[in-house]
Symmetry: none
Subunit: 289 residues, 2 copies
């Protein structure tokens, strides 16, 4: 493993609030003075950052896996709008702060509507730029309420966010980062069907291109590991043409007759544990192993 270094910062489905420090920022600008001051400040904050002086294709920005981007639209010339639109379309979760020279209200409105998160007019104080970037990034992390309090369990598996691992009978499944993020995302959906596009955008951070099989492949890897450790259960269900649904379902058939009444089962706690929606009534969990 040892994956978790940069793991959570970008595109984290349920990031840990702790890692507010590690941020990847890029600044696209030509004003050397501005860049210099800003860079120094970013250094002191310990934010990983990168300066781009020339118009970078939107696709290239996507590959940088940024948390936020500060951009002077002037650098991009006339195609700035198109560029901005494409970028926002591809990375809905990227924080974009436009920091540019004098502009009209209409321009600012247009930029914000296209997907920019903030718009600062030069000249401006670098400290304010920093503060606005922070503000944008702060808003981005959703899971404010979802701290790593409760380990999720379903069927035989237990998903521990604090360990970045899933376990069956205390034995780790040895999930990789992506695999874990996937199972965590699915399990957190509480039995709802998640569409491929949504899974992709929440795990990878940008929008999926048609024909991408990444989600399928990782679902397969997950299923393999789940099946190996918990053969009598099915967890990930395919919904053809839509996506996947996570729900623990036992393969043991109608074995309730087998369950001796002598063993008192804590139905309440058990039911809560099951992620399987309240329906799927015949959960019958004869954990007779």
């Amino acid at each position: 493993m040892t994956d978790s270094t940069t793991a959570r910062d970008e595109a984290a489905p349920s990031g840990q609030g702790s890692a507010s420090a590690a941020l990847r920022i890029a600044v696209l600008d030509r004003d050397s003075g501005f860049i210099q001051v800003l860079s120094k400040r970013l250094d002191r904050l310990g934010w990983e950052h990168r300066v781009l002086a020339s118009p970078v294709p939107a696709d290239a920005v996507v590959a940088m896996r940024l948390s936020a981007l500060v951009v002077d639209l002037a650098v991009l010339g006339p195609q700035a709008w198109e560029w901005l639109e494409r970028l926002c379309g591809a990375l809905p979760d990227l924080g974009i702060v436009v920091c540019t020279g004098p502009s009209t209200v209409a321009q600012r409105v247009r930029g914000l509507r296209l997907g920019a998160d903030d718009w600062i007019t030069k000249p401006c104080h670098p400290e304010e730029v920093i503060a606005r970037v922070q503000s944008v990034v702060r808003r981005r992390r959703r899971p404010s309420g979802r701290t790593e309090t409760k380990p999720l369990t379903a069927g035989e598996v237990e998903i521990r966010s604090d360990r970045f691992q899933a376990f069956v009978n205390e034995a780790s499944l040895d999930l990789t980062r992506r695999e874990f993020e996937l199972i965590e995302l699915l399990a957190a959906a509480e039995g709802r069907v998640l569409e491929r596009e949504e899974i992709y955008s929440r795990l990878w951070g940008y929008t999926m291109v048609r024909g991408d099989r990444s989600v399928d492949v990782f679902v397969r890897k997950l299923r393999q590991k789940l099946e190996k450790s918990s053969p009598r259960w099915r967890y990930i269900h395919t919904h053809f043409g839509i996506g996947y649904r996570f729900a623990a379902e036992s393969l043991d058939v109608e074995a309730d007759v087998e369950v001796p009444a002598s063993i008192p089962v804590d139905w309440d706690a058990r039911d809560q544990g099951e992620l399987a929606g309240p329906h799927e009534g015949r959960e019958l969990t004869t954990d007779s192993l």
Copy 2:
């Protein structure tokens, strides 16, 4: 309503289009001119909004269940910072846009650091205020966005958008994607008759060519599956020369004793369905099979 269909039209993978409409905004300001213009604009947008002219306790704001708040800190006087801090602490998900008179960089930075999402300096154009509020709200809606999934029921069937499935007595009908979209569309029409062309254009996304039987075929498949799982009910009714209407109707003659009480019958939808004869009087309900 009809999540999946509308979602389809705008190619939005996860976003429920309807959610963008329901916004609750409050404006805390004393500048009557500003308020007036802003209010008018908010009205036209259809956003539910409320104007507060006097310093409202932070707790009171909490009770308003807002999506966003536009506030002139000047109204709050010297306690503005404390007020802001408390509010942000209590409602981390509330979008807060400070819109106030001249300020120093330090003040703006402080406000943003305390939790404000944006800071606009007056005088400013109301359209920009709107755009910035939208930008702030846009980011926020992801996490809770998918809560409005209310199971729709009619007769014995229950349509669950979160599972892309319909159920009868908790047993799935195993509908395919198109079948589900169709039943969802029909059911959402609340008993109105939908013309073939409309059904087609809303499910397929483009206009139907004359002679296309796709809708008929899918109606048939749906009827088959419905009949198999719920034989004592009729759901989809043909209106000759027009289209189809969805309404649960029991075949049991007044002997609803048969109807298992476990599932409440949606009488309302049924009644509405009977009345709905929008098109030329010849309703003549040929639903005799």
